[in-house]
Amino acid sequence: MISRRKFLVLVTASAATIATGKALSIGEEEHKSELSNYEWGMIIDVDKCTQCIKEIMEKEGIDDVEKVKPPCIRECDKANNVPESEKYYYSLIRIYEVREREDAAPLYFPVMCQECEHPACVQVCLTKASYRREDGIIVVDLHRCIGCRYCMIACPYNARRFLWEPPEEHLRVVNPEAPIRKHGVVMKCEFCLWKIDRERAENKEPKPVCVEACPHKALIFGNLKDPNSEVSKILKTSKVLTLRAYLGTNPKVKYKLWGD
């Protein structure tokens, strides 16, 4: 006959074994969808962007880089239902002036959401509205966003915008495919996911609107997991810059400088 002491030890030990085993196996379960074959990335040729923005500033006589609307920003605003406003800067791409030295000629960096591998905005999201999709795009599920703006504070690239005003009053044209949104949510560049997801399903080469709109072909978009894609080739052959790399966010948007 088994003693009471031995019985209790056996029962506890087996329960502990089962519990540990279950806890370990939960982490391993990971369903992979079709999206896991992709990792979208973008390479921006800063020299071409600087050239283009300089030309626009000279032609239109604008001093402030924030007021410059190159074709990429104009097309992006139109396609993603970004409201026009005098009061707030809503465009999902923002142009920053960078100089090598104080007296050097300015370089213009178009900065949109950098689609980080380790995004700070997703970590802080209270409602899990912001999340990282399997293909690396950071998406805001506007059905869940409560507009707390934690993500805007967390984002090191200032890539997110808060919709202060009812957008329908500030829109000139509407793209029915993309959401119009409501005021009080946060919006960001999502690589035009409504467009690239559809084009992927149609077996076309997916391209966000800004990439198609750029007249200088300064923006290159593609799948980083495909070794034959244009972005992968450029990453292998050219030097590229990562913004604020010391933060360890590992962005999927890279900047190409100084020619090839």
Binding site: A79, L171, V174, E177, I180, D197, R198
Partner: protein, 132 residues
């Protein structure tokens, strides 16, 4: 039975109260069929069967919402063909004003979709990237 008259009176009063909808409206309750007043859709086949769609289209749209936003699925194959996972797919066949809105108003349903999504009654100029 104790207090027989009171009990019977109580039962009768209860039955009268139960039948209140009938005597308050004086028998004017009638079945209204909104189906005849709705605009006829242009296409032949809906995403699923017509009966299923009229009862469960909201569940399909919820399913689509999750699929499109979370999993990046933008094409939805059914027995009737492949459909774009988008609200724009609805008014390829259906008239918004005389079909969707009319029935929703009749049923006193107020979908929140149109707070953030475009519908044709908004009367705003559109750009279309679908056919480019």
């Amino acid at each position: 039975m104790y207090h027989k008259p009171y009990v019977i009176l109580g039962i009768v009063a209860f039955l009268i109260l139960l039948a209140m909808p009938y005597w308050v409206t004086a028998g004017n309750i009638k079945y209204e069929d909104i189906h005849k007043e709705l605009a006829q859709p242009k296409g032949v086949n809906c995403i699923k069967g017509v009966k299923w769609m009229s009862s469960y289209h909201m569940e399909l749209l919820n399913e689509w919402r999750e699929a499109a936003v979370r999993d990046g699925i933008r094409k939805y194959p059914t027995d009737n063909g492949v459909f774009n996972v988008s609200l724009t797919e609805c008014w390829k066949c259906h008239d918004y004003e005389n079909y969707c809105k009319k029935c929703h108003e009749f049923m006193e349903v107020r979908p929140v979709c149109w707070d953030c999504h475009y519908n044709p009654s908004m009367e705003m100029p559109t750009v279309n990237y679908l056919n480019k």
